[in-house]
Symmetry: C2
Subunit: 605 residues, 2 copies
């Protein structure tokens, strides 16, 4: 326990959860680390595809980048409408579910969960690549360094979100400022300075000439620049009032920066005639030439790493929150809904960290290997959001709805086309994994929901025909010999005068009110004790109470009775009894305490 | 359950345990497979040491073999006395403990347990080598084949010992007959026949000349021929009346066969000038030359394999029985004492099989690698037995005790010297493992005994100050919401009229009588139900009874209360609660059954 405290900090009371509202510059820094950081690898990914047709094909990168910037503009306009329509935060799951129905919602949710994991893996891999570009000796340790970064992120997020706000502002602006300086310096040097003293390697075509398919593949790879662009629209309530307006303004700023930096980098790479290399990232090459090495170059690499790590952190907000929403709707185990005593969704954070670490190990920390899996999920959820908004405006038909309808329709068509392009061009390079995983996840969601529905029906009191008097009980005690434990157990069984106290820990006032009301009706006169829990912990107030009861009757027993739900299939136990398990583990070695499980068997269905 | 039945056969009632008494020829076959089978490798092991001084040193093998046969004679004479002194079976543990005290007894027990495991590993490895000598293609699969043999042995023994008796006679006599034929044919061919058409390889010295140490090492390796020689003395009660006389006679027969075959093989190897080879065993080479290949040769290899596998089987009788004796004396966990429903010590059989498989894997199924660990334990227990007998005669001083005293003294000195020679010459080749393991095992035995002593003291009722009236009980039931399981649990807790039935399964009539008597005194008027158990199973009669109680009160609950001992240290839980665990596992998914653990915490000591 002390270890947990030391690691995660003291618990935070529910009342401490008042939102820390963000100013626009801080909000920009927090929500933009994900999209802005993708500038660090998007251009390189485009060139990595074009290089297959030889360096001669590199001039296509300019055109491709302009198309992508066009997509940024369309998406930004579309998302500004979502900000106003869903001021409480409209993730793709919420939008698609409320406008298109459950199945599209789950589709978006599955795509997003996968992409959150990939965001962590890709960003961490790219962040480590920024460092190993500057210090090549570390290249062979990149998996270990990546795992370390994931461990730190997971730990930081288990400590809770309160600290993370301000941490973000600095690295984001360091990166944006630094990269702007790189571009200005680079363009300046190219236009007015000495000719660049850099060998221009020329690679000849490996896969034949430039085909349409190759250009589309390059476009698909470049689309990673758009990942995370929707972050601001998910986080509207975090802005100061008027939140939607501030968020919409911030979105414009973010999009402008993204477009400017992305175009600038692509242009510089073209001017310098750079070729992607295994040991050094493209923007490391650019920064090295622009700054001519030295302190500024290293500063740039550190800033790149920091913003990428912080981009990974965006998923640590998004994944657990989405998992929590899904758990709320019974599509994931209910324990994903639990907010830890530091006000963080601990279970979701933990699962995200584990999955990302798993991916990083499988793909050996290689950004390029992960990229083909990436973005497809993001674009699927873009398309579903936009389509949802199209439906939204058709249903609503408010003032000037046709214009809004047209904007989102454009967004839906643009992202839809991009999704199809992505799926086709990257299918054999890894996108198939995502396309297989999504239906599996959807199946899982529905299976879990179905179980909870069936269980709820079986647990409900509405149809319960309570026996007139409590059913009889026969106690069987097998003994091997007559000894102290046997006699003590016998005397425990012989006592009749029982003092029954039903206890409810007040984690959620609404739930507590319901329990009180229900108990009036069903409690058969047995008293109900309500235990306050300022830190939302279920266990600690209960253990304290049991301890007090033990003190109350020094020689006596305390029987802790647990009404336990036993499902018919083994995997369903994962969906129940988490609390019962915790209680049993905590009481295992307590003296004079007896735990009795009263099982309730769920029938098969 | 049906799977267990199918695998192990229907349970056997305790009354079916009447001993199947053995005639002398059958007894000889059963108890001699271990010593006689060692002829299959003993000569080879001598030559493998002598070859280090070149083939020129091979003629020493004759002298060494004669010394070993001398040891056989001394030991046989000594053990005949043990047969008469301990007609109920005198293993080294029993003899050493009753005459020399607890520590020498544990010393012998530790040495024996290790050697039982080694007997299985060595015999199986040598048995597989007999087959791979005939079919070299199987050489690379020797570990897999060895594991298969161990699995079959373990399975056969879990089925119980009843079937194994007659199975033994045939292979033993096949081997003895076949080998006698090999020797006769071989000697005939050498004396009267054509000169052997076999290249005589000549190996020059690898480790300098013949030293005393080398000769002693060769002697040590040859001592493996003596392993198992004591088997008959452990199994006296299995013989027909007059058991001691029949056993003693059988012992002479066994010793004569052993001496004859061993000398014959050594002589033939010398006459043929054979050199041990990696791919083919020495006796395979001898048989091949004597029979000139063909069906008789293959028959001989199969017989060799069979007797070696059956030699391994000897340990499957010895190890579990010794472990059971140690458990009876609380030196091993009490569950080693349990006789399964097929009248076999299932736990011991299982542990032996696992340990031998482990050894076989570590040493890659190589007989020569295992040999240095072998025999030292056997000789330690020989020495302790003989020394114990020396003490026995000094204490007893019956008619003609001096002669008996002198015989056992000779045995003790001879085996003592051999033990020291073994320990020194094989120390660096692996004997150190055994010499390290023995004190560890002894420490474990004593630690376990100490725990049981302390626990017994804490469990005893003699000093128990029973409270005048049963201590009070407060029931705490934590609830999250009010639903069916909660209300059902509440009604369970609210009922007061309890019908308590204390149940004892009559596995051992003596124990049951004690329980009845104790219950009179301590039972506080609560009825005691005795359940008969013809198959000694604890669980099945209990589950049947619980089922009957469930039928008896169709709508009601059955609470199964377990008085559970909770030790202070985790490893101590291995020494308790085995039955409680079984009961809980069996009742886990039973409807209307509630298991209540009433813990009894052992204090630290």
């Amino acid at each position: 326990m002390w270890f947990k405290r030391w690691l995660l900090g003291r618990p935070l009371a529910t009342t401490q959860a008042v939102h820390e509202r963000l100013s626009n510059p801080v909000g920009l820094a927090i929500f933009s680390s994900d999209p802005l950081s993708s500038v660090a690898y998007a251009t390189e990914e485009i060139l990595l595809v074009l290089v297959l047709a030889g360096t001669a094909a590199f001039h296509y990168s300019i055109g491709i980048s302009i198309v992508i910037v066009g997509l940024v503009a369309i998406l930004t306009t579309s998302y500004r409408q979502i900000i106003y329509a869903y001021p409480s935060g409209g993730g793709a799951y919420v939008v698609a579910k409320s406008t298109l129905g459950e199945f599209p919602g789950l589709f978006a949710a599955a795509a997003l969960l996968i992409d959150y994991v990939l965001t962590v893996a890709v960003s961490v891999a790219a962040g480590i690549a920024a460092i190993t570009s500057a210090v090549p000796e570390l290249h062979e340790h990149r998996v270990g360094l990546g795992l370390l970064a994931i461990a730190i992120l997971t730990w930081g997020n288990l400590r809770g979100v309160r600290e993370s706000g301000k941490m973000f502002a600095l690295p984001t602006y360091m990166f944006v400022g630094g990269l702007a300086l790189v571009i200005v310096a680079g363009l300046g040097r190219a236009l007015f300075g000495a000719p660049v003293d850099h060998p221009l390697p020329s690679v000849s075509a490996m896969e034949g000439g430039v085909t349409l398919f190759l250009l589309l593949r390059a476009f698909s790879s470049g689309c990673t620049a758009l990942t995370g662009i929707e972050a601001i629209s998910n986080g509207v309530p975090a802005f100061r009032d008027p939140a939607p307006k501030n968020a919409a303004t911030t979105m414009i700023w973010m999009a402008s920066m993204l477009a400017g930096l992305f175009l600038g980098i692509t242009l510089l790479a073209h001017i310098y005639g750079l070729v992607p290399r295994e040991e050094e990232t493209l923007i490391s090459q650019i920064a090295r030439i622009s700054f001519g090495g030295g302190a500024l170059y290293y500063f740039m690499q550190v800033a790149t790493m920091l913003i990428l790590i912080l981009a990974a952190n965006t998923s640590y907000n998004g994944f657990p929150r989405l998992a929590g929403l899904l758990a709320q709707d019974s599509f994931l185990p209910h324990q994903m809904r639990n907010v830890g005593d530091r006000l963080a969704f601990s279970n979701g954070i933990f699962i995200l960290g584990l999955s990302a670490a798993f991916l990083l190990i499988i793909f050996r920390g290689d950004t390029h290997a992960l990229i083909p899996l990436y973005a497809i999920g993001v674009f699927l959820s873009f398309t579903l959001s936009q389509t949802g908004m199209v439906q939204h405006w058709r249903d609503l038909r408010g003032r000037g709805w046709k214009k809004k309808f047209a904007i989102n329709l454009t967004g839906a068509i643009a992202t839809g086309v991009a999704t199809v392009v992505l799926a086709i061009t990257k299918f054999t390079h890894g996108a198939w994994v995502v396309l297989v995983l999504i239906p599996i996840l959807i199946g899982m969601f529905r299976k879990i929901r179905w179980h909870y529905n069936m269980a709820e029906w079986q647990l409900s009191l509405t149809m319960y025909d309570r026996p007139k008097s409590p059913p009889p009980n026969i106690v069987v005690m097998p003994i091997g010999s007559v000894n102290r434990p046997v006699i003590i157990a016998l005397d425990y069984l012989r006592q009749r005068a029982q003092d029954i106290r039903v206890v409810h820990v007040d984690v959620d006032p609404e739930e507590t009110a319901k329990v009180k009301e229900d108990w009036e009706k069903w409690g058969a006169g047995v008293p109900l004790v309500i235990l306050p829990s300022p830190y939302r912990s279920f266990l600690e107030p209960l253990l304290d109470y049991i301890e007090r009861v033990r003190q109350e009757s020094p020689g006596g027993w305390v029987t802790v009775a647990l009404a336990e739900v036993l499902p018919a299939r083994w995997w369903e136990t994962l969906l129940h009894n988490q609390r019962a398990l915790l209680i049993k583990a905590a009481l295992l070695f307590k003296f004079r305490v007896i735990v009795t499980d009263v099982p309730y068997h769920l029938g098969p269905y």
